[in-house]
Amino acid sequence: MAPGFSGQAVNTGQSIRLQDYAGKVVFLDFWASWCPPCVASLPAYNQMRRDIGTDGFEVIAVNVDEHSEDGLAFLRRHPVDYPVLLDPAGDIGIPYQLRTLPRSFILDRSGRVVASYRSYSAGDEQMLKQEILRVMGSPE
């Protein structure tokens, strides 16, 4: 099972608990404002979420900037629709054994990690979308 976490989304104000997403496929993305491919991926993932829709699917992002104001400043310039949590101390990231960024995971409806990705290049969101749709269509 994917390590659980909770927090308040700084952009949407939602109270987020991973276990509340049981029954939904989750794309979990770790990023930082100093990571150029992370920065490039955010609008791509935002569009991917719009394409797939939120019926049975959600994107949750975790910003790991040690100075959270850097991540917040980036979000103000480049807002996204999906919830973003702040994790400067690694309370969420350390259990996911982060070493490099960007790092993302696909969690199935049962909260299991079924895929993980270490990088982002332009166009990767198409591949991710196909994989997410496949996981959404898979029987539990």
Binding site: A32, W34, C35, P36, P37, V64, D65, E66, A89, G90, G93, I94, Q97, L98, R99, T100, L101, P102, R118, S119, Y120, S121
Partner: protein, 309 residues
């Protein structure tokens, strides 16, 4: 995209293997170091890196102790190595690396009738296992790694030019060696765009079938690397190396062994997200060599291509 592995990983790869087996220690020329060429870039489970590295050593300085001496013999010596290496991360902590080499030696003594002597062939191979108990992450600025390696003579070491040439002119040492190393890295910022790295290596050299053993070696490296964006990095460092005298049987070979201090600059370009090009050099700062006279490295430079899967 291997951002954040970039500077730390590359500098560690460059510096963890800051010196090599003294393949040409009979002239204390630093011979043809292989350890500098081995790729240790694989740092996350399943990563595989393949590298091609060349290194050219010009060995024309004649030294007495720590003093440069004019060479009256017109001696010119060059060693050129080509190395293919692979590094694979078995887990996020354990990785293995291996390399095979091709070595060319060229020696000219203008004052003699011998003319130019050239040798070339497959050199030694090296296998390394690396364990990293403490890794740099977005939440931790320190990294510490340990390694154990084995140098294997993988080809003949008895090329002849009328008679069997000396060990420093052979492509292979003909002898096994055991390599121990450790390295520490500190990232000055969360993005690890500026890192400090220090390493220490020890190589224990065994004898070949002619009872010749290159001197055991200690090498220390300290340097700083800077990642200036997604495509370009550079580093500067100092490398100290000390080798014992070579020996044949129970007897030390005179005029072998000593201490060297070099300045090591390097640059790297990421041509694509997977392909890196590197250039590096080694410039002597100081040396103190055993015996009355030794030829040693004037300078060396290298070129590398590395591809990550």
């Amino acid at each position: 995209m291997k951002h954040r592995v970039g500077t730390a990983g590359w500098l560690i790869a460059l510096a963890l293997c800051g010196s090599g087996p003294a393949l040409g220690a009979t002239c204390s020329c630093a011979g043809t170091p292989l350890l500098t060429a081995i790729d240790t870039s694989a740092r996350e489970k399943g990563q595989l890196f393949i590298s091609y590295v060349t290194e050219d050593h010009r060995i024309s300085d004649l030294v007495s102790g720590s003093r440069d001496v004019r060479d009256e013999t017109g001696r010119d010596r060059e060693s050129f190595s080509q190395v293919v290496s692979a590094s694979y991360a078995l887990t996020d902590r354990w990785a293995v690396s291996a390399l095979v080499s091709h070595i060319e030696h060229r020696r000219t003594i203008r004052s003699s009738q011998l003319g130019e002597t050239r040798t070339s062939g497959i050199g030694d191979s090296v296998i390394l296992a690396r364990y990293t108990p403490i890794v740099i992450t977005p939440f931790n600025r320190h990294e510490w790694a340990l390694g154990l390696g084995l140098r294997i003579p993988s080809a003949d070491d008895d090329l002849a030019d009328g008679f069997i040439l000396s060990e420093d002119m052979q492509p292979s040492t003909g002898a096994r060696g055991t390599i121990l190393w450790t390295g520490y890295t500190y990232a000055f910022n969360q993005a690890a765009t500026v890192v400090f790295n220090a390493t220490a290596n020890y190589t224990d050299n065994q004898s070949n079938d002619r009872q010749y053993a290159f001197g055991d070696e200690v090498s220390l490296f300290a340097g700083v690397g800077h990642n200036m964006g997604p495509r370009f990095s550079y580093s500067v460092g100092l490398r100290y190396r000390r080798t014992d005298a070579d020996s044949r049987g129970k007897f030390d070979i005179p005029n072998t062994g000593g201490e060297w201090l070099d300045f090591v600059p390097a640059v790297q370009w990421s041509l694509t997200d997977r392909l890196d090009l590197g250039l590096s050099g080694r410039i002597p700062i100081a040396r103190d060599l055993n015996g009355a006279l030794q030829f040693t490295t004037s300078y060396s430079y290298g070129f590398s291509l590395s591809y990550g899967f």
